[in-house]
């Protein structure tokens, strides 16, 4: 778990202002849902947290320390698509994080270490309902199965922060309910701080402990790039995941 602090953060691409004067304090273990119109900097904010973009001005702190300049195992990510490795089976995809951190040169585990990792992976596969599909390749899975695997793939590394960029955007509404249950369960079990972008307001209210709305405060019709978006609403929601799991 980790807290995130944003202080007077600006992000500009040349003359285009994407984020302006962002100020936030997110506590340990919150589930933050982010909504807003397209092109108003939600994904940019996530990419800043991920470390693939740098703020133009201002500070972005994790546990009051500056964010590392590149992606790392402390911050997991699930994209809408392409998060899985097509050349690896479901089990291999899931093992990958453990193998990367457990074997710096070969990136593969053997013997007892491999058995421990496999046990952990199998338990996780079972909990997300993918154990039967463990030897399939990602292209043989449905969209919902792929996203469940992708989330598990990040969670197995026990990140302090989990970033979700419209993870359920491409899924059928029926499957989404299952996905919500899984993500809430993994969140409460693994004590992560979660940031999730969503297009679905209902979903955002249901899942989050805090809802952020990104929007532009000012508009210049002659120069749409002149002003950037910021957090216009910062709503605390219900606190406990377990309450909502029961509901």
């Amino acid at each position: 778990m980790a807290s995130v602090t944003v202080k007077r953060l600006w992000k500009e691409y040349g003359r285009q202002v994407v984020l302006e004067n962002l100020n936030l304090r997110i506590e340990d273990g919150e589930f933050v849902t982010i909504v807003g119109a397209s092109g108003c900097g939600k994904t940019t904010f996530l990419r800043l947290l991920l470390g693939v973009e740098k703020p133009t001005r201002g500070e972005l702190l994790i546990d009051d320390k500056p964010i590392p300049p590149e992606p790392g195992p402390d911050r997991g990510i699930v994209f809408q698509r392409y998060s899985l490795f097509p050349h690896l089976t479901v089990t291999e995809n899931l093992l990958l994080g453990l193998e990367f951190t457990g074997s710096r040169f070969l990136g593969r585990l053997f013997g007892a270490k491999r058995r421990t990792a496999l046990e952990k992976a199998n338990a996780l596969l079972d909990s997300i309902g993918l154990y039967a599909a463990r030897d399939k390749y990602p292209s043989q899975l449905s969209g919902g199965m792929q996203q469940r695997l992708s989330i598990a793939q990040s969670v197995i590394c026990e990140p302090e922060i989990l970033l979700l960029d419209e993870p359920f955007g491409a899924l059928d509404p029926g499957i989404r309910a299952d996905m919500h249950e899984i993500i809430l369960r993994l969140w409460s079990q693994n004590r992560m701080t979660v940031f999730m972008i969503s297009h679905d307001l209902k979903e955002s209210f249901q899942l989050g402990t805090r809802l952020l709305v990104f929007d532009k405060r000012r508009q210049d019709p002659q120069d749409p790039d002149a002003y950037g978006a910021t957090v216009t609403y910062n709503l605390p929601l219900k606190a406990k995941a377990t309450d909502r799991l029961a509901a």
Partner: protein, 271 residues
């Protein structure tokens, strides 16, 4: 009436259609050969089937009177050795270059423009240079194929590496991958199928370079034999040799295709 693009031939018809052009070619040959031999029994341009069979028998199953060797196999062995070694070297260098160019921006800045420029050198134009520098032995012939084929393979592989979604590379980093692990466990395995495709597409070029090199300076090899007997208008040797080369090239292509399917099943379902 359905659209032409929606009409699929049933299995049997498809097989017949596939064989048809070959049958037409053979029929046309037999007709031409007969007509010409009727007009002039000494005609050498389109030898009769009997002559072809005799010649193939002499080359493939009898020892040559002068050298005591069975020429077709000596030639085949010499040529195959050259082309397989050359393609192996090309594939290894091409993969290494392509992977590093695709994965590491500094290497890309350093090597990509150079490889692009080198790939534009017509290899046959520097064949004399190779013979002068490397001598008339095996090295020059293999070098010609390697020089001709490697840059294309390297560029193709690098292109594939560049096509991998950024999401994948970022995800791997969030799972704790170093540059090394990212290259060896994420990028490299996904380049193998494309490497095989690249080599398959370069087979024709490789054979072209091989035959060119053998035609100019060699004492054995399929290309050498064709250019040797050309002096005597020996179409009865040239045509079976061309057929044999085509068959060998086809078999190599087929084996690579099977290997791709067997070794990388995940790449099939991705297409």
């Amino acid at each position: 009436m359905p659209r032409l693009i929606n009409l699929h031939p049933p299995r049997g018809s498809a097989a017949f259609l596939a064989v048809l052009p070959f049958l037409v070619l053979i029929a046309a040959y037999l007709f031409g050969s007969n007509t010409r031999l009727e007009a002039n029994p000494d005609d050498k341009l389109l030898p009769s089937v009997a002559t072809l069979v005799d010649t193939v028998h002499a080359y493939a199953f009898e020892e040559d009177r002068r050298s005591g060797e069975v020429l077709l196999w000596v030639d085949t062995w010499a040529s195959l050795k050259r082309i397989v070694v050359a393609l192996g070297i090309s594939a290894a260098i091409g993969l290494g270059l392509g992977l590093t160019i695709g994965a590491i921006p500094y290497i890309r800045a350093l090597a990509a423009p150079f490889v692009a420029a080198v790939s534009m050198i017509p290899p046959l134009a520097i064949l004399p240079v190779l013979f002068i520098v490397l001598g008339l032995g095996e090295v020059a012939k293999i070098a010609l194929i390697v020089i001709g084929v490697t840059p294309v393979i390297a560029r193709d592989v690098a292109l594939r590496a560049g096509e991998l979604p950024t999401e994948q590379l970022i995800k791997a980093q969030t799972l704790g991958a170093s540059s090394w692990l990212l290259s060896t466990r994420i990028i490299l395995p996904q380049l193998w199928p494309r490497l095989i495709d690249a080599v398959r597409l370069q087979l024709g070029c490789a054979w072209l370079f091989l035959i060119a090199a053998e035609a100019i300076a060699s004492t054995e090899g399929l290309g050498y034999r064709i250019f040797l007997v050309r002096r005597y208008l020996a179409m009865d040797v040239i045509l079976p040799y061309v057929f044999w080369i085509t068959l060998l090239a086809f078999l190599m292509d087929w084996m690579l295709r099977i290997a791709r399917r067997r070794l990388f099943p995940w790449a099939e379902s991705q297409r």
